[in-house]
């Protein structure tokens, strides 16, 4: 189901965690209409 479920190496895990943290930051910062609106107005 849904692609691989095999564990990966430590490096790959660290990379995925960093990627997830970055995405969460982006979501918290940008996934809100007011923030996007502010950026739009600034742009």
């Amino acid at each position: 189901m849904n692609g691989t479920t095999q564990p990966a190496s430590r490096g790959a895990i660290a990379l995925i965690i960093a990627w997830i943290v970055l995405k969460v930051l982006l979501i918290v910062l940008l996934a809100h209409q007011d923030v996007a609106g502010f950026l739009y107005a600034g742009f």
Partner: protein, 410 residues
């Protein structure tokens, strides 16, 4: 009805709402605590989730529909069983196949689509509103597809018939209720073959990766693109080809983001949820594009329309006319894809144009494969680079000329 509809819309588009995620967590925690087969456990918990998210009426409608559909399948199985020994079996078999495989889902599906095409009639008749709301919920396109897949598996491929609670879990899973993906009946039944996959730290990481990618696609990239291209609170428009090109990219981030979140939730709760997008803009032909865009619909068409029809026609017409069997199957598959989106001339034309494009690609590919120069590595690399541009231009042009206005109307 309006309030109810608004509640549905709020609840359905609420991946940013904490309530939705609390329900997901509750489903995940409750599933191992309940005894019984996994499909049954999910069916039960799913009804509770539907009740929390969309109101108890939604759960009752989902269960009621599953009971009726299971009843019709049981009746058909009974008729088919008699058909094995009784001389009048052939007629019984044809009747039940027509009843279940075609008429029942098709009736609900067409009803829903007609209601979409004639909103003025629905709005002017209060009683019609209630009835049509009910039918619209029952016959929602994805539920109709799941019904057809289930009927095909149970009646043709002799898959086990699930109990009504499990059927409700398959037909109306709370995390796939808005825009699919189209889950498979045979995969859902396989849930009963073994214990739920363990939620290890690695799987948890994959789940987080799916969900964050999906939310980033839908609410950050998609929404930012929409706001920058069309403005805040402005309706999306497709006045120029460029508008349609932006909308095409927006549709990808919106739909692929939604589908990726569903995939993550499916992994989290151990319910088979198919992958729906795999980098479609990297495809170098239109044919390849549709193996990467809305993949679960493509797989449904292949399982339930294209392959069975092609096999049937090749058997009937003989191997010498196999190519015509393939073309006919392709034609019906694309007409279905077109009309599945909406019952309109524009979408019918879209189906016809796509049949033509895919068929032309096949002819060119077959012709090129016979020549030596076309197989040179340099040319292959060139096509891998230029192909995505060709796909994007052709798809945007077809969307712009035929269907984008109707898509925006939804």
């Amino acid at each position: 009805v309006k309030r109810r509809r608004r509640e549905w819309e709020i609840a359905l588009g609420s991946f940013l709402d904490l309530g939705f995620w609390l329900v997901c967590a509750a489903v995940m925690l409750a599933l191992p605590l309940i005894p019984g087969r996994r499909t049954l456990r999910f069916g039960l918990v799913n009804l509770a989730a539907l009740g929390f998210l969309f109101g108890w009426q939604a759960a009752v409608v989902a269960l009621g529909f599953a009971v009726v559909f299971n009843g019709v399948l049981l009746l058909s199985l009974h008729l088919l069983g008699r058909g094995d020994t009784h001389p009048s079996g052939v007629a019984a078999k044809r009747t039940s196949i027509a009843l279940v495989g075609i008429l029942f889902p098709a009736f609900l599906f067409v009803f829903h689509k007609l209601a979409m095409e004639h909103p003025a009639f629905v709005a002017s008749t209060p009683r019609a509103q209630l009835i049509i709301q009910l039918f619209a919920a029952l016959s929602f396109s994805y539920i109709a597809l799941r019904c057809a897949d289930m009927a095909h598996c149970v009646l043709w491929k002799r898959a086990d018939l699930l109990d009504p609670l499990s059927t409700a879990g398959f037909l109306c899973p709370f995390h796939m209720i808005l825009s699919g993906p189209v889950n498979r009946y045979d995969e859902h039944v396989k849930m009963n073959d073994g214990p739920a996959p363990a939620l290890t730290a690695w799987v948890g990481l994959l789940v987080l990766n799916d969900i964050t990618t999906g939310i980033l696609y839908k609410y950050v990239i998609g929404e930012t693109l929409r706001i920058f291209a069309f403005g805040i609170d402005e309706p999306m428009r497709a006045a120029t080809w460029l508008d349609t090109a932006i909308l095409f990219i927006y549709m990808f981030f919106d739909f692929a983001g939604y589908s990726r979140v569903c995939l993550g939730i499916g992994r989290l709760i151990g319910v088979p949820t198919p992958e729906n997008f795999r980098a479609p803009f990297l495809a170098s032909t239109i044919t390849e594009f549709f193996t990467r865009w809305h993949m679960s619909l493509g797989a449904f068409i292949q399982r339930n329309i294209y392959t069975p029809l092609q096999l049937h026609l090749v058997r009937r017409w003989g191997l010498r006319r196999a190519i015509w069997g393939g073309l006919t199957a392709l034609f019906f598959a694309w007409i279905f894809v077109g009309l599945w989106h909406r019952l309109s001339v524009h979408f019918l034309t879209y189906g016809l144009v796509m049949t033509l494009v895919v068929w032309l690609e096949k002819l060119v590919r077959d012709r090129l494969l016979k020549t030596k120069w076309a197989r040179r590595p340099a040319l292959t690399w060139l096509w891998r680079a230029a192909g995505p541009v060709y796909v994007f231009v052709v798809m945007t042009t077809v969307l712009h000329l035929l269907v984008i206005t109707e898509i925006l109307r939804v």
